[in-house]
Amino acid sequence: MRRYSPLERVRLLGRAGLDVLAALGRSVIFLLHALLGRGGLREGFALLVRQLYSVGVLSLAIVVVSGIFIGMVLSLQGYSILSNYGSEQAVGQMIALTLLRELGPVVTALLFAGRAGSALAAEIGNMKATEQLSSLEMIGVDPLKYVIAPRLWAGFISLPLLTVIFSVVGIWGGAMVAIDWLGVYEGSFWSNMQSSVSFRADVLNGVIKSMVFAVVVTWIAVFQGYDCDPTSEGISRATTRTVVYASLAVLGLDFILTALMFGDF
């Protein structure tokens, strides 16, 4: 066992701080190289389609199932509170606004970090550990173009679409519970929703949020995979870090974006 003197601990703290800054710098250079670097690939579109499938389509099941259940739960909770005030007709409006503004973008991004983000980090980390990335380099193919860029774009495109799907099935699940089960009048459920939801303020802002989350979550995932230690411990650390960092970043950014978009202070 090593023992550290107090001075040594201060030094280690400083070292850790510098390491974080260096990793941030590396991740920015990495992103710029992958997205803006010269020399696109001929098969770029085919690679993107394959990644859209594994990142987007394969995340569809978890997003749809979660969306339905969250919508249904919102409906139950909303009904039990609103009925105290005799305004259970407003449950549609409550479900739609909650999902479009907050839960849609945030929960989908968290699910995406857990399902697609961890898979991306593990896959890229494994390619690094088995020297597949090195071998691409030595064949004369830039792994940032061949492996990283298609995965980044696939994440950027998939998450906003998944968010829209999440909100739609959530509203549908909420409507099912409210109208068919709790007996809320269908006409007022939908018309209340229609009159209170604004396309620009609610739908568009939600989509903008999900675009920001898409960049952040995918960037964290692919960078963690690419930058990990090429060992099995390194890969498992990268996977864990992806989920933890991405979830915290999504929640923190959500607060900032909400304050900017909806805060009239």
Partner: protein
Amino acid sequence: MSTNPYAVELKGVTFRRGERTIFDAIDLRIPRGRITAIMGPSGSGKTTLLRLIGAQLKPLSGEVWVADRNLPTLSRAELFDLRKQMGVLFQSGALFTDLDVFENVAFPLRVHTDLPDEMIRDIVLMKLQAVGLRGAVELMPDELSGGMRRRVALARAIALDPQILMYDEPFAGQDPVAMGVLVRLIRLLNDALGITSIVVSHDLAETASIADYIYIVGDGQVLAQGTPDELMQSDNPRVQQFMKGTADGPIPFHFPAADYASELLGGTDA
């Protein structure tokens, strides 16, 4: 074709990893069209040397000349271009796990040439025939044994007919049959295709049997160089220890530590 008799030249190359100096102003020249072995004890930086020649690592100072170009001065795009002339056989084979054997070997041809599919097919089959695995063309990498994987990787490495072929520990963890096959293949490919081969290894007998010239590296320096016969007869004790594989000698077996007896008896933390 260049008239330079050396395919690769390292001039005064210094490389550090953290605070540890791996190479200290090392000079090394790899003759064109021959098999040059780089040997040395584990941890002496042999693989690092290959990565410096492949420009996957950048030296702290010094020049790395490959195909008459100084690698540290080249841009990222120029490096990727230059690497088409090099092939590397990685220790693990490093086959792309999502592609079958055929597509693995076809990969460099697909990304770097505009050849029609029929021609790519013929070239891939010829390369696989050269490594004796034409029959495995439809298998996935996880269906191959370690030795077969390495041979497929070799077929992929020669797909573009590179001028320089680097082998990273090609004999490590191979059974005697696979080892014999690989030794013959390396010699055959070198002679038949006129490639410059660089073999990094610590398997003495196999490497000495095919190498035309050997460098022994250690402590950040070239400890010795010469033909296998010259090195066998060297009176340098470090070379003797390495070539004969004895534990006693100037190359230490023990990692540096406090005195054994005093540490056991003293009972304090190191």
